[in-house]
């Protein structure tokens, strides 16, 4: 009965600004994907597939929106267990692409567990912190760290540096939210500094050759411009040559002539920046800021800690993906495989992002409830 009352109020919480922003950003993505791939002669073109992903993403959005996030949070641990199993499965029988095993083939499609792992991690950590008292750095830092670790290791093993870093970002954002005392923070920092060389050694050793070379190429951009620095250089050329107002739709020679690899996935921002120029880039950045701003508002007005932590975790994850993706295409960071949320082509990422946003709106919706 109470639930019915809540449900009747659901429409009030159905934030049109929020939905509108998502729709516009998704459109930018589809348009850019269409622009890069329209000359490819395939029966089922990328932009149509992306529309299918958006449709599925909308379903995921609605499911996450309409369910109770407390119930969803309660499923966090079992879901995390399933994800860990799937990540292990990927390592055993996953589909390889460019040296990394990230996908589980399902018919003609491929499912990428590491994308979903990010959202599940947010759920797990939010669930954990909302139940654990704010005492002791063991409970605050070490225990949740142990929860993060198996997933992180499995993802790095693929290797999927981008998702791995997203994991760490979510964990760091959560720590920030629950408030790490200055003493604890000091210890963490000290440990980090002391352990860094060993960790780096380990990370470096676990990296594939192509990843090491990408890091090298980042440190020295002119190092092998035709080889490993190729992506970074072509992406910078694409963005830079867009200048103020861009070359117009389909006018991006970098992407149209295939100088820019992965123009529809991780480098879709470069395609957009080449076609629409600095003006277009500012518009897209503004759209993202607006979306994140609205999300932060939701987090700030959440009625309980679980909601606040969920919202903050999701926002942190999205922010991280947007900043790192744009930063890497613009040559600020080394190239790690992170898609631009809502814009890059990809089923797992699109569905996961839309599900996250559904959950976020769910937090807003529950804000209005008095009882649950």
């Amino acid at each position: 009965m109470i639930d019915r009352v809540i449900d009747s109020r659901g429409l009030d919480s159905f934030d049109l600004r929020f939905i509108g922003l998502i729709a516009v950003i998704l459109s930018v993505g589809v348009l850019s994907i269409y622009s890069v791939t329209h000359s490819q002669d395939t029966a089922f073109p990328f932009y149509l597939k992306q529309l299918v992903w958006i449709l599925l993403g909308t379903a995921a959005f609605l499911v996450m929106y309409l369910s109770d996030y407390h119930k969803i949070a309660r499923l966090a641990y079992p879901t995390y267990a399933v994800i860990l199993i799937l990540l292990a499965v990927v390592l055993v029988m996953g589909k390889s692409s460019r040296g990394a095993q990230r996908w589980i083939p399902i018919g003609p499609f491929a499912f990428q567990p590491s994308e979903f792992a990010k959202l599940v991690l947010v759920l797990v950590l939010a669930n954990y912190y909302s139940r654990v008292p704010r005492v002791g750095w063991l409970q605050r830092v070490v225990l949740p760290g142990l929860i993060v670790l198996p997933g992180l290791l499995l993802i790095l093993k693929q290797p999927d540096l981008g998702s791995g870093l997203s994991f760490l970002a979510v964990y760091a954002a959560m720590l920030l939210m629950v408030g790490v005392r200055s003493k604890a923070l000091g210890i963490i920092l000290l440990l980090s500094v002391m352990l860094f060389p060993f960790v780096w050694e380990m990370v470096w050793a676990s990296l594939h050759d192509y990843q090491r070379q990408r890091v090298m190429a980042f440190v020295d951009p002119d190092y092998d411009p035709g080889g490993k620095g190729y992506h970074a250089l072509q992406s910078k050329i694409a963005i830079g040559s867009g200048e103020l107002s861009g070359k117009g739709l389909y006018g991006g020679t970098q992407s149209q002539l295939k100088f820019l690899p992965e123009g529809h996935t991780d480098f879709v921002f470069a395609v957009y920046a080449e076609e629409w120029g600095f003006v277009g880039v500012l518009v897209l950045l503004a759209l993202f800021i607006a979306l994140i701003w609205v999300s932060l508002e939701i987090a700030a007005r959440a009625k309980d800690t679980l909601g606040a932590l969920l919202a903050a975790g999701i926002v942190a994850m999205l922010c991280f993906c947007v900043v790192v993706n744009i930063g890497m295409t613009a040559g600020m960071f080394p190239i790690v495989g992170i898609p631009l949320p809502l814009v890059s082509y990809g089923g797992s990422a699109t569905i996961m992002t839309m599900a996250s946003l559904g959950l976020l709106l769910n937090v807003k919706r529950r804000r209005l409830t008095l009882f649950y």
Partner: protein
Amino acid sequence: MASAGFNDSDLLDLQRRLVILRVGLLLVVALLALRLWHLQIREGPYYRDLSENNRTRSVVLEPARGLIFDRNGVLLANNVPSFTLYVTLEDVKDRQALVAQLASLLNLDPDVIQKKLSIGKGSKLQPRKIKDRLTLREATLIESHRLDLPGVMIQVESQRNYPGGAVAAHLLGYVGEVSADQLEKAEFADLHQGSIVGQYGVEKTFDRQVRGRAGQKSVEVDALGHEKRAVVAERPVAGDDLYLTIDIRLQKIAEDLLGEESGAIVALDPTTGDILAMASRPGFDPNVLSKELTNKQWVEIVQNEGRPLNNRAMQGQYPPGSTFKVVMAAAALESNTVTPSTTVRCNGGYQFGNRLFRDWKAGGHGSVDMNEALIHSCDVYFYTVGQRMGIDTIAEYAKQFGLGQETGIELPSERVGIVPSTAWKQKARNQPWYPGETISAAIGQGYVTVTPLQMASVIGTVANDGVAVRPRLVQAVMNRAAGERAEFPPTIRGKVAVRPATLALIKSALADVVTKGTATRAKSPLVTIAGKTGTAQTAALRTGPEKDIPKKFRDHAWFVAFAPVEAPRIAVAVLAEHMGHGGSAAAPLAKDIIEAYVKAYPQVVGGAPAGNRTKVPVPAVEARPRT
């Protein structure tokens, strides 16, 4: 369900911390925006250039070389389409692999390809020419491997072709790729690796006119270097056409007359200086040399004993032998050493100190005057007058006739021979002139050397009553685009300071040489011919009959002539290496050329109007005062 871990104040605390996220977000996004502003606005033009270069390759469109015609418009050099292979390094992902692939597909030495990839200035965007004249099979092979060969491009270009093969090869010359050394020079500044330039003959001298101007094409390529679209930015401009003075029929006859022998024949119009034929044997096929040669082929040509690349007509330096007596006669009469009636007694030898200089005729010629001395080529007469004049007077006249200097023909690397004098010997040998050496010089032996072209010019000057016209090979240049034909007027070099009476005496004597002297084998029923034989000794000491001497030690045969005697329109110099006496070996060849000329241009003899005869104005040169 209440939160187990956090209470409400904790929630507020937690939500306050969101500010950190907000500030962090704004900061990071501001940084991103700044970075994008830097890339797109500040460095935008730079990246715009890079993106243009990424997709466009500038391809040079080679111009068609100008055509070369003979005086009657017969085509001597043209262009035929052919496939040329270029490589753009920018698009090559794996250079070593490409070199290996091309080497096997084209059957080329990998080192040669490597070298071509590295010559010349220009960036990696500048296509390098690897091979031209690909066979259809090679071109097809490359095209079928197109997708595995990014950066490789086949262009249809025109290649130089000489329809006549070896005929007139020394005059036309040949073309070849501009060398790395040439590219360094200012005159080739607008060229690039792979440009074709004239390397010999008129192809070289007139390269600037004939070469034309290269055009440019922008080719849009994708990331794999595959051509997508091409835009012609600038059309190539074809080179100018050349009209040579030669008559290819005469040229062919002259070359055939020499046949397998080594030697040269020069035929020119003494009134205009037009070279009608200029043959040098042995020759070469410029079609072969204009291709890329292997090292072995090149060494074979250069080290060939017959030295086919040597244009004997203007680079061969030979003692003139008795043909020099024409100059001697003018010198002796003009320097008043002798008068036409002065006689010299010839007993078959001339004693100087303890050395006896023999006459070619064992018994001697008896008492001879200038006229007879020329007709019968009496050596003793010229020993005597030479000794009286002294070497410096001889040198002075020889120079007036143009010996010892370039004729100025439009061909590269003309040689000048030697006109010896006391000053020359001091300078060249650091020795004084010995009087005995004058005696050898007087009959065109010793230090005196000339080229056949110089001798043709000398006899032409005599025929033209002392007016020396610069020999020329190019009549006109035709600018095809403008449709303008620029004629080159004949150039008078000067008038020798020889009185008409002296020239008349010499001309008459030379006419008698053919009718009753040493060159009766040059006598023609078609036309009156005047001439002078010569035999140039190659070895100082020779004994026994001619036929017992190995050929390479035998004398060179000379004959210089002009015709018709009354109004000369052709002057000829024939030099046949190691063929013995001029009268027997060289004179008949001159006669054949002259007869061929008369048949081809009948207006030269008889009353027929001299259609294209050019009246050359004679500049006023002060006659040498008689003393």
